[in-house]
């Protein structure tokens, strides 16, 4: 083996499908994929910025959120991901919002109380207890690893890793540039 071979890195290898959680106009020309960890303070800091981006570029960009829990450094990250994935149909983003606005309350008791509030029927709490979405979360994580996720949050703009900061101006410029390319 003397032939050096080139490996292209930092490209989204798992296409966005109907299985993904999408926020914003489903038909928007630009797709922002975020790999995030609900206990990660940087993801918490990015959250209002991404929300603002969706507002100021409404119709131009849609957000896809995928799980990338770093459980060795964030002990509540896996349970928080289960919380979001276990939300009742149509309530994923409500759960997502709750997590990023209550990052200081991700302990088991607080998550259980929040789940009971979001779904009084108890099935959300049951799904969390049984970790029924563990495979999906693992699938998200491994797809992220294969795509070059290098920490959280990692963003992909139309499939290309965003190797820049996530200030609103930077993300907006990246989205606008991608919109021009996609014509």
């Amino acid at each position: 083996m003397t032939t050096p071979f080139h490996i292209e890195t930092g490209r989204l290898t798992v296409p966005v499908t109907a299985e993904d959680h999408v926020r914003g106009d489903a038909g928007a020309p630009v797709t922002l994929v975020e790999y995030g960890d609900y206990q990660c303070p940087y993801c918490g800091a990015a959250y209002p910025i991404v929300e603002e981006l969706l507002r100021v570029r409404s119709g131009r960009v849609r957000l896809v959120f995928r799980n990338f829990p770093l459980t060795d450094v964030h002990p509540h990250a896996a349970a928080a991901a289960e919380f979001a994935e276990s939300a009742p149909a149509g309530r994923f983003w409500d759960a997502h919002d709750w997590l990023f606005t209550h990052q200081d309350r991700l302990d088991p008791d607080s998550l259980a109380a929040a789940a009971a509030a979001l779904d009084p029927s108890g099935s959300m709490a049951q799904a969390m207890d049984r970790r029924v979405h563990a495979d999906r979360i693992r699938h998200d994580f491994l797809g992220g690893v294969r795509s070059g996720v290098n920490g959280t949050p990692t963003f992909f703009v139309d499939g290309r890793r965003h190797d820049d900061d996530y200030a609103l101006a930077t993300l907006t410029a990246a989205v606008d540039a991608a919109a021009r390319t996609s014509g």
């Binding site: 083996m1 060795d72 450094v73 690893v145």
Partner: protein
């Protein structure tokens, strides 16, 4: 400083401390793929994210029976504190004395900062360089390149030895 070893070159041999009373010799790892991750400094933000990622991805590396080794010029006690702070459970090697000697042999030493560059190497089972990548100090390379290289290596091995167990 030596140049970056190229694909197919034998990887320079070394023995480096992995703990106050332990060391790792590259030659002892023959028969397994080896990932060498040179990085600038314990505790720096990008290095911390990179090493935490490799710990999280370790189950994937294990599927290839690959050994992952982090290498910087920090001392063994510093490595221990860094590993404890981030829950890292793979070896961090100390290229401390003579400082950066191994990084230099791999063309991965920055003489201005006195730190290792952020260079990844994937070595094959015979200890030859299969793939390498130098990243800018501020960019965390992630693990996708490493895993793609391990995939390509497994495929090449399977192709070279049809019917083999690779």
């Amino acid at each position: 400083m030596a140049e970056l070893p190229r694909s197919g070159d034998p990887a320079p041999e070394f023995t480096l401390p992995s703990a106050p009373e332990a060391s790792i010799t590259l030659g002892d790892l023959r028969g397994r793929p080896v990932v060498l991750a040179f990085y600038p400094a314990d505790f720096s933000p990008v290095c911390s994210d990179q090493m935490a990622l490799y710990q999280a991805v370790k189950p994937e590396f294990d599927r290839y029976d690959a050994v992952v080794l982090g290498i910087s010029v920090d001392g063994v006690w510093c490595h221990r504190a860094f590993a404890d702070s981030r829950n890292l459970r793979f070896p961090l090697l100390s290229d401390f004395e003579p400082k950066g000697e191994v990084a230099r042999a791999y063309g991965s030493f920055d003489a201005i900062t006195g730190e290792a560059l952020r260079t990844l190497f994937v070595l094959d089972r015979d200890g030859k360089v299969f793939w390498s990548e130098v990243s800018p100090p501020g960019v965390n390379p992630g693990a996708d390149g490493i895993l793609a290289a391990l995939d390509a290596m497994a495929a090449a091995t399977a192709g070279a030895a049809p019917g083999g167990s690779a």
